[in-house]
Each structure stands twice: as C-alpha cells, then as structure tokens.
C-alpha cells in the first residue's frame, strides 16, 4: 500500500465496514437528478372594440429515463367581448329580439363571456436508439363546446441523424352545445314571431329554464317547427317543458408526414405534408346572414348559416433554420388548400438577435392571405333561391393578415428564461365588394380586425 494514503485508507475501511453493516455514512446520491421542466406563460389578446382573451398556459415535463419524458399542458382561457354575428351593418337600426338592437351604420355584434379549460398530456418514448414515438391525448371544455382527442407520431433518424422521417396522426371528437339549447335549423329564417326561435339569448341565460314557478323565457319550436312549449312569463303559465340541451357531434382526423434534413453545418430544413378530414356539424350555431332587398340593399331579415358536413384540408409546409455568424433565423412557408375552395399562403419569419449571455431580441413578422370559401356571402338577396350552403363568417372571407411583434428574453438561473412578447395583428378584407347593392355600397362590409397581443413567459428546470 502506498504509504502516503494511509489515513484515507482508514476512513475508506471505516466507510466500507459501516456500509456492510448498513450504518452507511451519509453519501451524496450520485444518480442523475430527475429533472422537471416548467414552461408557463400569461397571454392577453385584445381586439379593438371586440373580443378580449386572457389565457394562462403551461407545459410541465418530467424526464422518466433516457430520452423518455411525459408532459402535461393545462390551459385556462377567459374570453369576453363582442363578436360579429355575421349580419352586415345597414343605414337603419336593427333589432334582434327583445332589448337586442344595433344602431344604424354599426356592425351587429353579440356580447358574451366564456371560459375554456383545456389539458393535453404527451408521452415521448424511444423505441430504439434511432426511433422515438410520441403518444398524446387532449381534452377541452367550454360551456358550449367540448372536445376529446388522441394523437400519435413516430420519427426515425437516418443517415447518421442527418435525416429524420416522421409521421403522425390525430383524431378529435367534438360536441357543439349551442347556448340557446337549440341547434338552429340551417338557412332557416329567424324573425321575431311566436312560432320560431326568437333571438338568441345571451349564452349565460338558457332559453328554457326548468323552474317550479312556471317562468318560461321564450316560445320555442323544435327543428321541425312544431311548438314545443311556451306561455306567459308571469304567474302560473303553462308548466315549462325542459328540452335537453341539443348538441351535434364533429370528428376531425388529421395526418402528416415529414422530412427533416441537415443541409449544412448551419442549416436545417423541414418539409411536411398534412391531410385533414372534418365531418359532422361544422356550422357555427351563432352566425346569421343578412337578407337584403335586391334593389334597395336594405336589410329585410336574417337567416341562420349552414356549412357543409365535411371538409378535406391539405397543407404543404416548409421551414428552415439558419445559424448566421451570431444570430439565428427561422423562416417558414405554408400552402393550405381545401375542398371549401379556400387557398391560403402563410410566411412567417423570426430573427433572433443574440445579445450574448443568454439575452436575445427576436423580431417576428407573419404574412397570411386566404381566398374566400365558395359558400361565403357577405349577405343574400331576399327572394332569390337559397344556395345549399352559405355563411357570412369573416373567417371564411377573402382576407389578408399582417402580424408584427418582438420578443425579448433574458436568462434565469442555470437553464431558465424570462421572456416578454408584444405583437400587433391586422386583418383586412374587401370592404366594398363589387356585388354590394344600393345602401350596402355606403357600408363597410368587411370591417376587418386589429388586435394587440401581450405575453410574458417563464421557463426553468427543477
């Protein structure tokens, strides 16, 4: 035994003897610490005079083993404000039911409050050194919409990890429960009369209440038009009949294949092809369409919208990441087309100015444009034959959207990050379409949208 390490030998021997007898001296545990990654953010989205959304979202990831992680992502939204009903503004006041009127030259909107709770779980696991799989499930619930879904994907590296081929699929089963309790008949007129559904009450107040003192809110007809219940609002009216909340189902199946390729030491590229099929109730129960007089362009009535029962969507997506001498640029292009006649281009660029020591500024810009759906109409001519499908929802109109923003980030501890982001989004469409008639030419038939988005985020490892 080397003479110089004698005293350490005794302590080593003492430790060994204690070890054997189970009286182990405190030993620092050498195994790798379980690491638990937290990403969370608060976002505030505010449209001018329209919808405001406050959202909290987080991704909590626990490492289970070599390349194996499980992550849980909860999201809570609260949405308030006014959303366009689909009716166009006109030069007269418009009434949509008791104490629900819109002044002249103003866009008819519907005020509402909604809360959404969503959560998704995702489990990533390697099959072998080169292949990893991700299995996931998600669910979300609002007072008038619930959704449950599962997804799975697999990715395999080739050519010494220079190339990755991936494929994935997801299936979602959604249920639409209109606040009015009634799923409106598509393209059906909605006037103020006893035998049809009168105007929609605000979601917070269901059309029909089962109450013992016989209070009945509105006269209600079933989809086939027969009167189901009704009566006076005061003492001792008919017994109220409670109609179970009507709902409709919707299935969304999505699949994608992708190729990721290292182009050179500084450049990485990805190509994805995506295919999606939605079937079932795709209509928005709250949207209506203005019926106008063929000559004067005056609004004479409204009907509910009706969209096709299925939709086939396809996307081609290309993204590249390039590491410049200091900075990093992310550039992506997406081409979207579907069998509703919508063609869309999206270009998105993030430029990451490295300031050193983990600080960076990231200006972001996004250009989006889409053509209108075949069945989009800003309004319909009263008396003309109704098309099979029609909707006045701005989201289906021809539209262009610009988004500019900047993200600032600073390091937090070992691998954490504090970040703040602000961006401005502007949507513009055709305010004065060629087919506007009479009075409509004086109205803005596509008011568009302006929104500010503020986000603060924090991420760290435990």
């Amino acid at each position: 035994m080397q003479l110089d390490e004698r005293s350490s030998l005794r302590s080593a021997l003492a430790a060994a003897s204690c070890g054997l007898l189970g009286i182990s001296p405190a030993l620092a545990s050498a195994d790798t610490p379980d690491n638990f990654q937290v990403d969370s953010a608060l976002l505030y989205y505010a449209e001018k005079d329209r919808v405001k959304v406050a959202e909290f979202s987080g991704i909590f990831t626990q490492t289970l083993g070599e390349d194996e992680t499980i992550s849980l992502s909860p999201t809570i939204d609260s949405i308030t404000g006014a959303s366009p009903t689909g009716a166009t503004s006109t030069d007269k006041t418009q009434t949509f039911g008791t104490n629900d009127t819109t002044p002249a030259n103003t866009l008819p909107v519907k005020h509402f409050i909604d809360h959404r709770f969503a959560a998704s779980v995702s489990w990533q696991r390697p099959i072998d050194r080169l292949t990893k799989t991700v299995l996931g499930a998600e669910g979300s619930a609002e007072h008038d919409y619930t959704s449950l879904g599962i997804n799975a994907s697999i990715a395999r590296d080739f050519d010494n990890r220079l190339t990755t081929l991936g494929a994935g699929a997801s299936a979602d089963f959604d249920t639409v429960l209109p606040a009015s309790g009634i799923v409106p008949q598509g393209l059906a007129p909605l006037g103020v009369s006893t035998n049809t559904v009168t105007a929609f009450s605000t979601p917070a107040e269901p059309v029909f209440k089962q109450v013992n003192n016989g209070v009945v809110a509105h006269t209600v007809t079933s989809a086939s038009g027969t009167i189901i219940g009704g009566g006076s609002t005061s003492s001792g009216g008919l017994d109220s009949i409670y109609i179970p909340h009507q709902s409709r189902g919707k299935e969304v199946i999505d699949g994608h294949i992708g190729l990721t390729r290292v182009i050179n030491r500084r450049t990485l590229m990805q190509f994805n092809y995506g295919l999606g099929i939605s079937t079932g109730y795709l209509t928005d129960p709250y949207k209506i369409i203005s019926m106008i007089d063929g000559t004067s362009g005056e609004t004479v009535g409204y009907i509910t919208e009706q969209r096709p029962q299925n939709r086939l969507r396809q996307t081609l997506y290309w993204e590249t990441v390039v590491h410049l001498p200091e900075d990093v640029i992310h550039l992506s292009y997406r081409y979207f087309w579907d069998d509703w006649g919508i063609r869309s281009h999206t270009v998105d660029v993030h430029y990451d100015f490295e300031l050193g020591h983990g600080f960076y500024i990231e200006p972001q810009a996004r250009y989006y444009t889409q053509t209108a759906a075949d069945f989009y109409h800003h309004s319909l001519i009263d008396g003309a034959s109704l098309p099979d499908y029609a909707s006045a929802d701005y989201r289906l109109a021809q539209m262009t959207s610009y988004t500019y923003g900047v993200k600032l980030a600073m390091p937090l501890g070992q691998d954490g990050e504090l970040s703040a982001r602000a961006s401005y989004m502007k949507q513009t469409g055709i305010s004065h379409p060629a087919d506007a008639i009479g009075v409509q030419t004086t109205q803005d038939l596509y008011p568009g949208l302006r929104a500010m988005i503020f986000q603060i985020g924090i991420s760290f490892k435990l």
């Binding site: 050498a30 790798t32 070599e66 050194r129 010494n160 990890r161």
Partner: protein
C-alpha cells in the same frame, strides 16, 4: 493471465454474447498525437494499458452524462492499468474549459478541434468510444452513452484488464 484456460474462453464468450454493439474488426488503433492541458499525449505511449478512447463535445448532452461514470472507472481501475483518453471536439477551447469547470474530469482530456483523429477513427456519432486493449488493438466500439449500458461497458473493461 494463463492463456487458453477454460475460464478465459468461457468468460470472453459470455461477454461477447452479452455485449451487442457493433464491434469493429479487431484492428490496430491508429496512433495520434494530441495536445492536452498538460503537454501532449501519444496513444502509443499508453501501450500495455487498456485505453477507453472517447470522442465528446461540450454541446452534446449524452457526453455530459458519461463524465461521472468515466471518473468512477478511472478511479476504480486506474491502478490496474486503465486509462481514459477523452478527445474534445469543441471548435473553441474555452467552450471545453467552461464545461470542464462544471464537470471536472479526473482523466486525460485531449483536444482535436479540426477533427483529424475523429476522421481517422471514422466517428459516426457523438459520443463515440473505443476500447483499446493492452497491445493497442481496438476490441470494441460503442456509439452514444446510456445509463443502462454502463454495466456492459464495465464488464468489457474488466475482461480486457484481465487479458
């Protein structure tokens, strides 16, 4: 080590069966000279020792995980003629030294920023490790580093030390 005794054949066969990674044809390890933090190192100087040649970089997470194990092996088998040579591939030296401050290495660290030695050994992935026996022949190579591989690696190490 008595050659040919029933025991050696039995043990070596067992180890080769248990260890499943790609074993290079048993060929001579190419010699090289590389700078270290204290002078130079030449592979042929280590003749007679069992060498664990490891190519790593500071930016590669599995490499980071291998350091505690490499330290332990160097400590446990050092006196029996075992040497870890960890070849760092970082482009800049101070990236490597920043790493080594956080994850100290009790073994020899050599620097090959241009990648010539990695080229000679046809390194296919990071980290890559080569077991070189006492007479300088590559007996096994291994790509990647996973916790569950360590017992196999130690078995290979013990069997090479016995030869």
């Amino acid at each position: 080590m008595p050659i040919g005794s029933r025991y050696t054949l039995f043990l070596t066969a067992l180890l080769y069966v248990a260890v499943s990674q790609t074993a290079l044809a048993v060929d001579k390890a190419r010699d090289f000279v590389l700078p270290t933090d204290s002078g130079k190192i030449e592979l042929s100087q280590l003749k007679g020792k069992v060498v664990y040649l490891d190519f790593w970089a500071s930016w590669c997470p599995p490499c980071r995980k291998s350091f505690p194990w490499l330290n332990e092996m160097q400590q446990r088998y050092g006196q029996e003629g075992f040497a870890v040579v960890a070849v760092n591939m970082d482009k800049s030296h101070d990236l490597a030294s920043a790493f080594l401050r956080k994850f100290p290495a009790d073994f020899t660290v050599a620097y090959d920023p241009s990648g010539n030695v990695a080229e000679k050994y046809q390194v296919q992935g990071m980290p890559s490790s080569f077991f070189i026996d006492r007479n300088g022949r590559i007996r096994e190579s291994h790509m990647g580093f996973r916790e569950e591989d360590t017992s196999q690696l130690e078995d290979t190490l013990q069997s090479l030390l016995m030869q």
